[in-house]
Symmetry: C2
Subunit: 80 residues, 2 copies
């Protein structure tokens, strides 16, 4: 079973990497981009068979290691 | 219109950051994790109204700036 974790900065948290991408896109001539935010994508390959238990386990991983919950949001999606 | 871009390393490309996460999860007592791969998530806020044109534009952004297509795959998802 695979888990896909999306980690994004919370609203209001400055995102200098996103700003850099925004400016670079502007320099390359891409217009119409209002905002860019960069986050992280983590793919886990799990041995678990029970989807509910696996999701709870992955959420514990996010809380304790993968996401900084002071400034980041995370969402977990299971792909069988 | 928002676009969500998922950028992941191609299969076979070494992912030291993913390996580091894998070891850290093991050290924290999380078992049953076979593999971890880390990618990037980029959220764009676009002015475009035409979904097909916006998707094509975002794919051009990926090819020219956002993804290194030698070692990375990308996928674009539009969220209205």
């Amino acid at each position: 079973m695979k888990a896909l974790i999306k980690i994004t900065l919370k609203n209001g948290v400055l995102d200098p990497q996103g700003k850099a991408i925004e400016h670079a896109l502007g320099s390359l001539g891409f217009s119409g981009v209002n905002e860019v935010r960069q986050g992280k994508l983590i793919e886990l390959d799990l041995e678990a068979n029970d989807a509910a238990a696996a999701k709870a386990e992955v959420e514990r991983m996010c809380e304790s290691l993968l996401a900084n919950t002071v400034i980041e949001n995370y969402s977990v999606e299971l792909v069988s």
